[in-house]
C-alpha cells in the first residue's frame, strides 16, 4: 500500500527540513521526501496549505488503564491522542495496580498494539507500588518496553532512595522522570499560593514546594551522573534551576504543559475545579518564565499531563476536587498559539512536540526521515474552530478550555501509514 501526500509544507526538525514538498509512504514506512514525487500511489492526499509534520509525541499522559477505566482507557485515550495529532505517548504508572512490573507493562503494550490509535510507551514506577521504599525491577521493565521511570504524583520522599534510583536507572541508561514537589511544603494546599488564593480563602501551594524538589533532583542527577527529566515545570524558579543545571552540564531535560504556559491562577476564580491541577496554575511571572524557557531552549518538550477525571470527581468543593485536566486534544492549538503570539517559531513548536520529546525517551519516532515509520500529522494551521468539551474523544471532559476559540488543528493523523483520525 502506497500513500502519497502532496504539496504540504514539510516541517521535520530532526532532518532540518522546512519546505513545500511531497511525502511518499510505502507499507507504513516513509520512502521518499521531495518535490514532485511521481509514484503510482494507492492513495493520494492533497496537503496544499497544510503542514506535514511528524506525529506529535506526548511525554505525559495518564491513560488510567488498568484499573480506572471509568476515567479513561487505552482505546479512548489513544483515540483522544489521534484527534490531537499525537501518534506516540508515554503513559504514567499511577494505574491500579501501579505499573511496577512486567505483567502490567506487557498488558499496556499489547492492548495498545491491538486496539489503540497511537503508540504507547509505558513509564514504569521508580519504586514498587510507588511507595518510595524499594526500587522497581528496572532492568526487566526496560527489557519489557518501558522507556523511563517516574513516581509521578507521589514523589519519592527519601533522598537516599532517589539517589539509588538515579544510579540504578543509569545502569540501564534510562531516565528518571520526576514530578518535583516537596509534599511537606504542599501541606494540604489546593491552588497556587498567592493573592488569588488569599482572596478565595484557599490554602496555597507555594512555588518553593516545586523549586526545592526540582533543586534536589537536579543535584542528585549531577551527583550520580544519572539522567533526569523534570515533568511539568510550572515556576520561574524551576525553569531557572533547569537552565543553570544545563549550563553546568547536568544531564537534565524538562517539559512544560500548555496550561502552564497559557493560564494563570486567575482561572481558579469561581472555584473552577477544571482549573485545579498539580502543579497548580501559577502567577503571570511564572507563565512568562515558562514561555521564556520554551523560547530559549531550556524547556525541551511540550507535554500534556493529560489527566482524565470523572465528572463526579470534579463536581465537588474545590479543596477536595481531583487534580488535573485532559490535554491531548488541546495541546496542538495552544502550542500554535505561542507561535501566533511570537513567543516561539513554528519550527521550534514542532520540534518541542516531536523530535525533542522522542530524543528524551530514546524512541525512533518524531522524524520524517526516509526509512522512518510513517507517523505523521497533517495540520491546518489556519483552521479556526471552537474547542468544546462535549466533542472530546476522551472519556473525561475535565478541561478549562471549553468554549475557547482555537486556531490550528490536526486534520489527519497517520499511524504507521494508516489514517487513524480525520477531521
Amino acid at each position: 500500500m502506497k500513500t502519497l501526500i502532496k504539496n504540504g509544507r514539510v516541517i521535520d526538525p530532526a532532518n532540518k527540513i522546512d519546505s513545500v514538498c511531497d511525502v511518499l509512504i510505502d507499507s507504513g514506512v516513509i520512502t521518499e521526501v521531495g518535490v514532485n514525487i511521481t509514484a503510482n500511489a494507492d492513495e493520494t492526499i492533497d496537503a496544499t496549505g497544510l503542514l506535514i509534520t511528524p506525529g506529535l509525541i506526548d511525554l505525559h499522559t495518564h491513560l488510567r488503564d488498568p484499573g480506572q477505566e471509568y476515567k479513561e482507557d487505552i482505546i479512548s485515550g489513544t483515540r483522544a491522542a489521534a484527534a490531537g495529532g499525537v501518534t506516540s505517548l508515554t503513559c504514567m504508572p499511577n494505574t491500579t495496580p501501579v505499573n511496577d512490573c512486567l505483567a502490567i507493562t506487557k498488558y499496556i503494550i499489547s492492548r495498545a498494539k491491538e486496539e489503540g490509535s497511537a503508540n504507547v510507551f509505558p513509564i514504569a514506577s521508580i519504586s514498587k507500588g510507588m511507595k518510595g521504599e524499594i526500587l522497581s525491577e528496572m532492568g526487566e521493565l526496560k527489557a519489557g518496553g518501558c522507556v523511563g521511570f517516574s513516581d509521578d504524583g507521589v514523589p519519592v520522599v527519601s533522598g537516599e532512595l532517589m539517589r539509588r534510583a538515579f544510579e540504578y536507572a543509569d545502569t540501564f541508561d534510562m531516565p528518571i522522570l520526576t514530578h518535583a514537589e516537596d509534599l511537606t511544603l504542599v501541606a494540604g494546599g489546593s491552588m497556587n499560593d498567592g493573592p488569588v488564593a488569599t482572596e478565595l480563602g484557599l490554602k496555597g501551594i507555594p512555588w518553593v514546594a516545586e523549586d526545592a524538589a526540582t533543586s534536589r533532583e537536579i543535584m542528585l542527577a549531577e551527583f550520580t551522573g544519572g539522567r533526569l527529566h523534570v515533568c511539568h515545570v510550572s515556576t520561574k524558579g524551576s525553569v531557572d534551576l533547569v537552565r543553570q543545571g544545563k549550563a553546568r552540564g547536568v544531564r537534565v531535560t524538562c517539559e512544560a504543559t500548555p496550561h502552564h504556559f497559557t493560564l494563570t491562577d486567575e482561572a481558579v476564580r469561581g472555584y473552577n475545579t477544571n482549573a485545579k491541577m498539580n502543579p497548580p496554575l501559577r502567577s503571570q511571572e511564572d507563565v512568562d518564565a515558562v514561555r521564556a524557557g520554551l523560547a530559549d531552549g531550556t524547556i525541551d518538550a511540550i507535554a500534556t499531563d493529560h489527566a482524565p477525571h470523572h465528572y463526579d470527581e470534579k463536581n465537588v468543593e474545590f479543596a477536595v476536587a481531583m487534580n488535573g485536566i485532559v490535554g491531548l486534544e488541546s495541546m496542538l492549538p495552544l502550542s500554535l498559539n505561542l507561535v501566533e503570539e511570537g513567543v516561539i517559531t513554528l519550527n521550534q513548536a514542532i520540534s518541542l512536540l516531536t523530535s525533542q520529546p522522542a530524543q528524551i525517551i530514546g524512541i525512533d519516532r518524531g522524524t520524517l526521515g526516509v526509512g522512518a515509520i510513517a507517523d505523521i500529522a497533517l495540520i491546518d494551521p489556519a483552521l479556526e474552530w471552537e474547542f468544546k468539551a462535549e466533542n472530546l474523544q476522551s472519556k473525561s471532559k475535565n478541561t478549562p478550555f471549553s468554549g475557547w476559540k482555537m486556531k490550528g488543528a490536526a486534520v489527519k493523523t497517520i499511524l504507521a501509514g494508516k489514517t487513524v483520525y480525520s477531521r
Binding site: 514498587k128 521504599e133 524499594i134 526500587l135 522497581s136 525491577e137 528496572m138 532492568g139 526487566e140 527519601s158 537516599e160 532512595l161 539509588r164 544510579e167 540504578y168 543509569d170 545502569t171 540501564f172 541508561d173 550520580t224 544519572g226
Partner: protein, 311 residues
C-alpha cells in the same frame, strides 16, 4: 630478597616484589598441606591469637589451620566470648590480650581501620583478617596465588571483578594486588554498588556485565548480601541474578579458558548460577585450599621468617 614485615595490614603499602615474595613463600608451604603429617616445627613456641570481632568461619579456620601446621599455639577469641559485649573498648581488650604476650594477633573487625588502630598501640604483630570494607590482604593474596597457579604470570591478564563493590570486604585489596602485579582490572556492577573513584584506583569501570567479562581471563564474582545492604540498592535478587549474575550463557563471552573466582560463601542462583558454581571453570575450592598456604606464609614472615626448615 628477604621480607619480614612487622604487620600485614593491607596490600596498599606492599610492593610487587613483596607480594611476589609472599606468593613464592606460600608456594613452598603448599606442599606441606598434602603430606601425611601436615606439620612443621617452624613456629614452635609462638602464640597466635585469632581475635575475631565478627563471625567468619572460613577465614578463622584457615588462619587457625595455618598456625597449627606451623606448630604455633593458636587461641581463638570470638566477639560473643570477648569483652566487647561487656562494654570494653577495642584498645582495652587488645591490651589485655597483649599482656599475655602473644606473638601475633590475627584480627577481623567490622570497623574499617581497626587493625591500623591496634597496630599503632600494641607491640605484637597484627595480621589483618578483614577490617570493615577496607582491606582483606590474605584474601587478595590467595586470589592472586590461585590465578598464578592457573595462568602463570598475572601480568597482562584481564581480571573482571563483578558485584557489590561498595560493600565488599575483599575488593579493595584485590584491586591493589592485581594492579601491582600488572593485571588489567575491570569492575562492574549496578551503579548503586559502585562507589566513586574506582578509576582512580586503576580500574576500568563497566555498567554492563557482558561488556565487562568479554575477553576476560579471570572473573571474580562478589557475594551479594541483600539482608545486610538494605533494600535500596537493588530491587530484588531475581533481577540481580538476571542482569548481574554469571551463568553458562554469559560466561561464554570470557576467554575459553577463563577461570571463575569467588571469595565465598556463594549464593547459588544469585551471583553464580548453580551450573557455574559446579562447573569446571570455577576455582573456588582451589582458593580455599591455597588460603592455608598463603596464611602460613604470612604468619611465617611476620614471625621473623627464619629459614624454612625442611625435614
Amino acid at each position: 630478597m628477604s621480607f619480614n614485615p612487622k604487620h600485614i595490614l593491607g596490600i596498599k603499602n606492599l610492593t610487587a616484589d613483596e607480594i611476589n615474595f609472599i606468593l613464592d613463600t606460600a608456594d613452598s608451604f603448599k606442599e606441606i598441606n598434602t603430606r601425611q603429617i601436615k606439620k612443621v616445627p617452624t613456629l614452635r613456641g609462638k602464640t597466635i591469637v585469632n581475635l575475631f570481632f565478627e563471625a567468619s568461619t572460613r577465614t578463622r579456620t584457615s588462619f587457625e589451620i595455618a598456625g597449627k601446621r606451623l606448630s604455633a599455639d593458636t587461641v581463638n577469641i570470638s566477639a560473643s566470648s570477648s569483652s566487647v559485649v561487656k562494654g570494653e573498648t577495642l584498645e582495652d581488650t587488645a591490651q589485655n590480650i597483649e599482656a599475655m604476650h602473644p606473638d601475633i594477633i590475627v584480627m577481623r573487625h567490622s570497623a574499617s581501620g581497626a587493625c591500623d588502630y591496634l597496630a599503632e598501640r600494641l607491640n605484637c604483630s597484627i595480621v589483618n583478617a578483614g577490617d570493615g570494607t577496607h582491606e582483606h590482604p590474605s584474601q587478595a593474596l590467595l586470589d592472586a596465588f590461585t590465578i598464578r597457579q592457573h595462568k602463570g604470570d598475572i601480568k597482562g591478564l584481564t581480571v573482571t571483578i563483578a558485584g557489590d563493590v561498595a560493600h565488599s570486604r575483599v575488593v579493595r585489596s584485590n584491586i591493589h594486588c592485581l594492579n601491582k602485579l600488572g593485571a588489567n582490572v575491570r569492575i562492574t556492577g549496578p551503579k548503586t554498588m559502585l562507589p566513586p573513584g574506582l578509576e582512580k584506583l586503576g580500574c576500568e569501570v563497566f555498567s554492563n556485565l557482558n561488556d565487562a567479562i568479554t575477553g576476560a581471563d579471570c572473573i571474580m564474582m562478589l557475594r551479594i548480601q541483600h539482608e545486610r545492604q538494605g533494600k535500596t540498592l537493588i530491587p530484588s535478587l531475581r533481577e540481580y541474578s538476571r542482569f548481574f549474575g554469571l551463568n553458562d550463557e554469559n560466561l561464554k563471552l570470557a576467554k575459553k579458558d577463563a577461570i571463575v573466582l569467588h571469595p565465598g560463601p556463594i549464593n547459588r542462583g544469585v551471583e553464580l548460577s548453580s551450573s557455574v558454581a559446579d562447573g569446571k571453570q570455577n576455582v573456588i575450592l582451589d582458593q580455599v585450599e591455597n588460603g592455608v598456604a598463603v596464611r602460613m606464609a604470612l604468619l611465617y614472615l611476620v614471625a621473623g621468617g627464619e629459614k624454612l626448615q625442611d625435614e
